[in-house]
């Protein structure tokens, strides 16, 4: 589903990704772990198309399309979802208005009919319930006044509503307490565990992987994938640390 080949990317003049190659087929949850500064968030931002990240070499193919040639909103319509490490607050815009606009923009780009207000609210209520989030929260302004944990849960509600084929989740587990972690992990499973979907899960901790059992685990260090294995690799990292495992 996603093929990243020899990806090099700069932030400003500084090279961060230095020849990253990774293939994620449909049906797979692939966890990426790695020390601070390895390039994990840069990878997420490059996949999402964030301005300020310059790809200098390599390619990313998503469902047969050249992902890097698409604008961020076109990537979303093509089925990519980027879960933000730091979800953005948008004063004056309600979650409901924002998400309905987003979903209908995606549907329009795919040649589908827009959802009516009623249809949208039903869908939103359903997905909010999955993440144990009150509908009243969705009527509030986007992420304004939300706690760190609420923002992450709201990200997953957004993912549920938009129903992407592929999700890049950048440290979705940071800022979550143990109960919220379980809710978010179960949400990821419910929304994304499917033979025709895939997930790239960026995380520092084993805890989320206990809930969302990954099929593969890769270590990202120095801007490239240095090792790939099964779930046992994450357990080894947790027990021994990056230095020991990468030595």
């Amino acid at each position: 589903m996603l093929e990243i080949t020899n990806l090099h990317a700069n932030v400003g003049d500084k090279p961060i990704l230095k020849g990253l190659t990774l293939s994620i087929p449909a049906g797979e949850v692939h966890a990426i772990m790695g020390p601070n500064g390895a390039g994990k968030s840069t990878l997420a931002h490059v996949l999402g198309g964030k301005p300020g990240y310059e790809v200098t070499e390599g390619s990313v193919t998503f469902r047969g399309q050249d992902l890097l040639a698409l604008e961020p909103h076109e990537r979303a319509a093509a089925g990519l979802f980027l879960g933000f490490q730091y979800p953005v607050e948008i004063p004056g815009v309600s979650n409901v208005q924002f998400l309905r606009e987003a979903l209908n923009a995606q549907r329009k780009a795919r040649g589908e009919e827009p959802l009516s207000g009623g249809e949208f609210l039903k869908l939103a209520k359903d997905k909010a319930g999955l993440l144990k989030m009150d509908m009243e929260m969705l009527k509030r302004q986007v992420n304004v006044g939300f706690s760190g944990g609420e923002k992450k849960r709201a990200e997953m509600v957004q993912m549920g509503i938009l129903d992407p084929a592929f999700a890049v989740l950048d440290e979705t587990d940071s800022g979550l307490d143990i109960d919220a972690l379980r809710i978010v992990g179960n949400g990821i499973n419910a929304i994304m565990r499917s033979p025709d979907k895939a997930v790239l899960l960026i995380t520092h901790y084993q805890r989320l992987l206990d809930v969302v059992a990954p099929d593969k685990v890769s270590i990202l260090a120095g801007g490239r994938i240095v090792e790939t294995g099964g779930p046992e690799l994450a357990l080894r990292l947790e027990a021994e640390g990056y230095d020991a495992v990468m030595a």
Partner: protein, 254 residues
Amino acid sequence: MGEAATLTLPTRRDEAWRYADMDALARLGAGALDQWQTVDVPAGESLMRCMIVGSDAPEVHRIRVTLGEGASAAFFVTNAGGDYTRVEVEVRLARGAHFEFGGVTIGGGDATREFVTQVTHAEPEATSNQTVRSVHWNSGIGNFLGEIKVARDAQKTDAAQDFKGLLLEAGASANAVPQLEIFADDVKCAHGATVGELDEGARFYMMARGVDPASAQRLLVQAFIGDAFVALEDEGERERLLEAALAALEGAKL
């Protein structure tokens, strides 16, 4: 000597005309400036007026409002002129009266759009609240010159003035000139002014969810200018003023 001959155009030395477009005023002629609408709101009554102003020619709208005891007046204005467009409101508040003003200037090109208010708290316990939002691009200019006068015995006055400018590209500008003249000692007068750019983080966040750049900008601008019409309870009128402002946004720099 005929009356017309005594009329002269203001100059930029006049504080209230400091950022005006003098060429446009000359085209309009001094006579056009001598036309004041007067609005008297008797004691205890209230008035609400919504205005959409602006065209391809210069416009000056001058309104003089007198509020009786406990009276209230609310003015909400979308100023989306394609040429110099000025809305000027002078208000005198008696005891316990309230004046509410919500204004939006929006536009590109090289036109100047401005609000000029003079709010006089002549008696005690009156309140006023003014909220102005300016959104401009190209070489567009938005101004808010807001003067608040509090008379010597107008104790317990509560007056607030809030301006925010949003510039979509370099070359556009926004000017805020708050002026407070306070002779009473037990009053609250708040004013604030900021000018900034569109939140690129918010725009990327919206695009990452599938919203196209123009729609993302429209949503963010809508949220920004919405503050000016928060106090407008008539939902239909609020929509009408917002739509007029957002229609002006078509073709703006992304």
